[in-house]
């Protein structure tokens, strides 16, 4: 097995850097527009400024990250498209998605305290989002159970599909149940945004910037997965044994013994 060259090519590495830079600039612009340029809301006052990041991180977590993980899992389970590429991409998407899911819950909680008077309520939207986090944390835990790559990929794919059932529940929770959480601002049933002018543009910029940040994180995390698979494939053990048996000097410090070198690989899955 070799490392996946599709993520090592200079073009992909250059694209990753550009996307990262654009994400940084976009996020910086969003913060500037969101905190200093856009006007306060008639009802919520300055608290409305949280709208420029909270729905953006939720969009990335729910629809991009977990949606992508579900799609990749389906592609892995489909015999014609079965490839460990999809499994690795799903794992990368879930890890990044979990971080964005935590950001969603925290920013929502910070918004909830001055608006509802509480940090947390067992509201349908909040609870289903928290359940989503627990489900995908379970997915990541499942990936750390030792198994052959194909076995791990198969059971992870089923777990991702099971967890992804909660995504539409989170989305429609504000319609299906009477909740504290407001309805959708942009993706509402009429598809007519209830936000306009500079506020709408800043919201859109926030979505774009956070989407770019997600793509950058996904590419870097995928590369990490490819490198971990390479090091965990047994070639590392063989290379180290060959080196030691031929007396080619002390083993390089970061590698240590074969077991030491494998430990962080297993721990990071």
């Amino acid at each position: 097995m070799t490392t996946d060259t599709s993520v090592q090519s200079p073009r992909v590495m250059w694209a990753t850097r550009v996307i990262g830079l654009l994400a940084l600039v976009g996020t910086g612009l969003t913060v500037w527009l969101g905190l200093w340029v856009t006007p306060p809301d008639k009802v919520q006052g300055d608290l409305v400024r949280l709208v420029y990041i909270h729905p953006g991180v939720a969009w990335v977590a729910l629809y991009l990250a977990f949606g992508l993980a579900a799609a990749c899992s389906l592609l892995y389970l489909w015999p014609r498209t079965r490839s460990l590429f999809w499994d690795r991409l799903a794992a990368a998407a879930v890890e990044v998605g979990v971080v964005f899911n935590v950001a969603t819950l925290i920013s929502g909680s910070v918004w909830g305290k001055p608006t509802w008077g509480v940090w947390w309520a067992w509201d349908a939207r909040l609870t289903s989002t928290a359940v989503l986090l627990v489900l995908f944390l379970g997915y990541l835990a499942l990936r750390r159970v030792p198994a052959e790559p194909e076995v791990r990929a198969k059971r992870s794919a089923f777990a991702a599909l099971f967890a992804a059932v909660d995504v539409p529940i989170v989305h429609f929770s504000v319609l299906w149940w009477k909740t504290l959480h407001q309805g959708a601002t942009v993706l509402n049933p009429n598809l007519s945004p209830t936000i306009h002018g500079s506020m709408a543009w800043t919201l859109l910029l926030g979505f774009v910037a956070l989407t770019l940040a997600f793509v950058w994180m996904l590419l870097v995390r995928y590369r990490i997965g490819a490198l971990e698979d390479f090091l965990g494939s047994g070639e590392l053990d063989m290379a180290l044994l060959e080196r030691q048996s031929e007396g080619a000097g002390p083993t390089p410090e970061p590698l240590g013994t074969a077991d030491d070198a494998r430990a962080p690989v297993k721990a990071s899955r």
Binding site: T3, T27, V31, G34, L35, D46, L47, R49, L50, I53, H54, V57, V96, V99, F100, V102, A103, I106, S107, V110, W111, K113, P114, A213, W216, M217, V220, R221, R223, I224, L227, E228, F230, L231, E235, L236, A239, L240, E242, R243, E246, A248, P252, P254, L255, A261, S268
Partner: protein, 50 residues
Amino acid sequence: MRYVIAGYVVVLTLLFLYGVQLVWRRRRLNRLVAQVEDSRSGDLAEAGPA
């Protein structure tokens, strides 16, 4: 306004720290793979042509 600032700080710090951690992990693994490949190519050169 302090809740707004707190929300921005927490979210952006979380994403930034995760990003830094990703870069650190990638660099570490890149170094590790380069060391393994260097040692293997060195061994092959010592063995000479088959």
